[in-house]
Subunit: 167 residues, 2 copies
């Protein structure tokens, strides 16, 4: 089982965006620079999260990305599904129906194996649904000896794009 | 998140092998034929499960695969890990440490995001660990109107390789 690298980048980006002043944005280039990742690859995931209603893309030279919802309303599951798509990890190809001696009638119930695999995925998703970006930030605050917030703030001081109202 | 198609094939194959008489085997070619899948692709996964101690590979012209453990001792997690490898779905690349203004000291604790993602994976694995091939077979028996067992038995009547002791 594998999640793409985009998930890590997307969650870190949303966490970073939750540190902005209300109305402010960060460009995709700044988010990529802060995390040392490819801007074009990250942009794809920012756009996916924008499409899923997690981020808002503000156009124009002063534009960039900001959260479209409160951090407490964005779960890790929201981000994983936006980046990886909604399909379950286990995709039943109904191989039980292939091969010699086909069934006269297609079985009416889902394959037992598919049901068991989907149940495990539900447990996975429930756990990811339980954790929000607000929880991640709260946990970070308890671990931070000051160096995490200092580094973030130094970067934002240069890169945060203030909203017109706040400028 | 995505599991390879090999997982479905591997679980169905182990389920099929649990229907054999003690000591009997099925060839990789027969398992592939029954499930309508590529024999060379399936063989890779049968070998992985053999390497993980779930299956026993019996060499020779009368050889093939059989379970190395009782069906109640083979969980879906055993099979998923044998086929997909032991790595968690979320692989932390420590992107928190990249970018400008590096930390003077590397943080001593795991990244909060990594911890949350691994916790979800533990929930997933716990659910898969709970379900054994014996459970799958029991569930199949309750659903079977006779057509599943009839099809399986007809295939085994031709393809099961009886052990020398039972021949």
């Amino acid at each position: 089982m594998k999640l793409g690298d985009g998930v890590e980048q997307a969650i870190h980006s949303v966490t970073m965006l939750s540190c902005l002043q209300p109305g402010s944005t960060l460009s995709a280039a700044a988010l990529a620079e802060f995390h040392g990742v490819s801007a074009s690859y990250l942009l794809k995931h920012l756009q996916a999260m924008s499409g899923a209603g997690l981020l808002e893309a503000v156009p124009g030279p002063k534009g960039g990305y900001r959260l479209a919802r409160l951090p407490a309303k964005i779960s890790l599951l929201d981000i994983v599904l936006a980046v990886e798509g909604p399909e379950p990890a286990f995709r039943c190809n109904e191989i039980r129906l292939r091969g010699p001696n086909p069934y006269a009638c297609k079985p009416k119930t889902l394959c037992t194996i598919n049901v068991a695999m989907l149940k495990a995925e539900q447990a996975y998703r429930a756990e990811l649904r339980r954790v929000t970006i607000a929880d991640i930030m709260e946990d970070l605050r308890t671990k931070d000896d000051g160096s995490i917030s200092a580094r973030t703030n130094a970067f934002l001081a240069v890169n945060e794009r203030k909203s017109a109202a706040g400028a």
